[in-house]
């Protein structure tokens, strides 16, 4: 396989972008865990680190949205479900995944705002 195989067609390129988006998300998560780990030891240092973390979080947001979008869109292919002996259509499965994602985001957002108060 030549090194540039992923530029051969659109699907390969989008696949590579999808896989790449997990890299900044992994870094973001490690950063978050590092901050949580250090918080009890030197709280004063946590606050100055916040703007940098906030900026990095904003940078990561499109990556997270793209990764989530592609992952949830593929759920209809992955999940094979039957209700009353009839297969559930992939569109319904994908829609339910997006609904659960939006629902979870609203609940978590509400909790964060509520806790911040």
């Amino acid at each position: 396989m030549p090194a540039g195989w992923w530029t051969r067609n659109r699907h390969y390129f989008l696949y590579t972008v999808r896989e790449f988006t997990s890299l900044p998300l992994a870094i973001w998560l490690l950063w978050l865990l590092w901050d949580i780990y250090n918080a009890p030891h030197y709280q004063a240092m946590v606050k100055p680190a916040l703007p940098a973390f906030a900026i990095f979080s904003i940078i990561c947001l499109p990556f997270a949205l793209y990764h989530s979008w592609t992952f949830l869109s593929l759920a209809g292919t992955i999940i094979h479900l039957k209700v009353l002996d009839r297969p559930v259509s992939s569109r319904v499965i994908v829609a339910s995944q997006f609904a659960a994602w939006i629902g979870a985001s609203v609940v978590i957002g509400f909790l964060l705002v509520w806790l911040a108060k």
């Binding site: 396989m1 992923w6 067609n9 699907h11 390969y12 896989e19 292919t77 992955i78 999940i79 009839r86």
Partner: protein, 246 residues
């Protein structure tokens, strides 16, 4: 108006003479809009260069023999119309990710080995004698596996799969789709015999869901779906209580 012509650029390779595959161009007549790439290759072989080697058989998208790379995309050449490419030239190459035997002929031994490893036949713990009559299935039971049974072993999905291209130990799309076809068949009881191959490190877990296998399949089979659903099934069997029961 001058007679319409088209240029076919075919890969040539004779292991006894050539160090590496090379390209040879053929300018041939294109008199009929219904001509496909396979017709063009047959014209070249009959009228221009009898030494050109390639596989073909049925000419109607059933046998799966004539799969080649057509302008970089894996296609059945009996189903790739010249009119879709003309006036551009058409580059015909052997399927990606397989060793070349000669010209456009690939070595399919690896795929045959993988196909056999998933035991693509109905396995019964106890055979039902023929005298016992037909083993009936409902249309819903047939619908469970029908699309996976459409696979014609053309190997286009292997040529499209970069995971197989990077690691040819990977079981691959068609073999997994056929394994799923039998695992979903209500007459089959061979799941436990196929699981060690499917769940192996080079089995379904090697797939990172590029999805191109399903895009290029000429029969509308969705091997990517078969692989992802097998991942989910094997996980459920491992995680759920009594998941590993028969």
């Amino acid at each position: 108006m001058a007679d319409k012509r088209i240029t076919i650029r075919a890969t040539r390779y004779d292991p006894e003479k050539d160090k590496a595959p090379r390209v040879q161009s053929y300018d041939i007549p294109f008199p009929d809009e219904s001509m496909v790439v396979l017709d063009a290759l047959n014209y070249i072989k009959s009228n221009v260069d009898g030494s050109l080697s390639y596989r073909w058989s049925c000419r109607m998208g059933i046998c799966g023999s004539c799969g080649m790379m057509v302008n970089g995309t894996p296609k059945l050449t009996c189903n790739a119309f010249l009119r879709d490419y003309w006036p551009r030239s058409i580059t015909v190459q052997p399927l990606n990710n397989f060793p070349i035997i000669r010209d456009l002929v690939i070595d399919m031994e690896d795929f045959m080995h993988k196909l056999k490893s998933i035991k693509p036949w109905i396995i019964r713990q106890q055979e039902i004698p023929l005298g016992a009559g037909a083993h009936y299935q409902t249309s819903e039971q047939i619908d469970d596996y029908r699309q996976f049974s459409e696979c014609i072993n053309c190997m286009l999905c292997y040529a499209a799969c970069p995971v197989y291209g990077l690691n040819n130990e990977f079981l691959g799309p068609a073999a997994t789709a056929l394994a799923r076809r039998y695992n979903l068949d209500s007459r089959d009881q061979g799941l436990k015999e196929r699981l060690p191959v499917l769940g192996d490190a080079e089995g379904v877990w090697e797939c990172s869901f590029v999805g191109e296998c399903s895009v290029v399949c000429p029969k509308g089979v969705d091997p990517a779906k078969a692989i992802q659903q097998t991942k989910l099934d094997t996980t459920m069997r491992f995680v759920l209580p009594y998941g590993n029961r028969d």
